[in-house]
Symmetry: C2
Subunit: 199 residues, 2 copies
């Protein structure tokens, strides 16, 4: 049950106590949701009293925002560095494989990223929404390039973009480590996505 988030991902968070609080919050938010998680729960996962949380973060929502912002940026970065390949087909396969594998490998972070948007303040939501649009554009561009090159046959470009993203995003909902290797899942999904669009 208690899937403990890899602390290496959060090495940039200093001091260590702030990092322990943050990883505890990721696990709690992913397992039970933001609203069902108490500040006492987060603090006790970090081995501290509830008040210690407020030494490092001004509110529970701010903790969520830091996780969500970092997670969105990480996902976008994964896409940007995976947009490689000679043809649109190669690029699409690389993008989908990387995006899917990220959602599996970091499924606790991904769950917070994808399913706790409603708990963000309007200002914070607007900030991550910008990143979400960039993520979506990255996929849409490759599909458009593939159509232009005659490699892809796509009837509804925005709809198909959303479907390709959907496939990877939904991994965060159901994935657990016993469901297999993230990289293998990425390959399977790259194949499925490619077949969805190829001419």
């Amino acid at each position: 049950m208690s899937a403990v988030t890899d602390p290496l991902v959060w090495e940039h968070v200093q001091p260590a106590a702030a990092r322990r609080l943050l990883t505890g919050a990721v696990d709690a938010f992913a397992e039970r949701g933001f609203e069902a998680t108490t500040t006492r729960d987060i603090a006790s996962r970090a081995g501290m009293s509830p008040a210690a949380l407020y030494v490092h973060y001004p509110s529970k929502e701010r903790l969520l925002f830091e996780i969500s912002l970092y997670g969105h940026n990480a996902a976008l970065e994964v896409l940007r560095s995976a947009d490689t390949g000679a043809t649109p087909a190669d690029r699409l396969r690389s993008l989908v494989a990387a995006f899917t594998a990220w959602h599996a490998r970091h499924h606790t972070i991904a769950r917070v990223v994808q399913y706790e948007l409603a708990a963000l303040s309007p200002e914070h939501l607007a900030e991550v929404a910008t990143i979400r649009r960039a993520i979506s554009s990255q996929i849409e561009q490759v599909l458009a390039d593939g159509v232009q090159a005659g490699e892809f046959a796509v009837r509804d470009l925005p709809g198909t973009t959303l479907a390709v993203l959907s496939l990877s995003i939904d991994v965060a909902r159901w994935y657990t480590p016993h469901r297999g290797d993230p990289a293998a899942l990425g390959q399977l999904y790259a194949d499925l996505a490619h077949r969805m669009v190829q001419a």
Copy 2:
């Protein structure tokens, strides 16, 4: 924002006051999640005092369970009556179109069904889990039939089953009425799913 659930769907819930509470709960759970929804919120959507809720339902969780159980059964029923067609390809297209359109048309119910499982009691969760397995089997069987008939080329049957389901389920996360006609979306997704598996 406040997408009001079609009361026609809940005609079997009697008396009318119980139905108003239930549709209010569906809307509130879909918009804000089970944990963020208060019994006062549900009651006020039904135009009643908080105590009136307990005349009709023993707890907030029971309200969630009735919604979730009904929603799961409705989704399974939609699949069972859509499993028609001469070939596995026709059957798959029909299943995916119907399942996808249901998630769009009833996206508030679907959101509760797909994203509030963690708030159910262990006993209630076990009950809906049975229905979820039946839903999954329905798709897996068609894919297996298609492979046997040589119509489909599927490397990883459980993985592909999950992917096909994923595509439709994720509709509940992002769909709003302004995103177009549920039936058209169903056709698009039927096409995408078919292409994912065809030999």
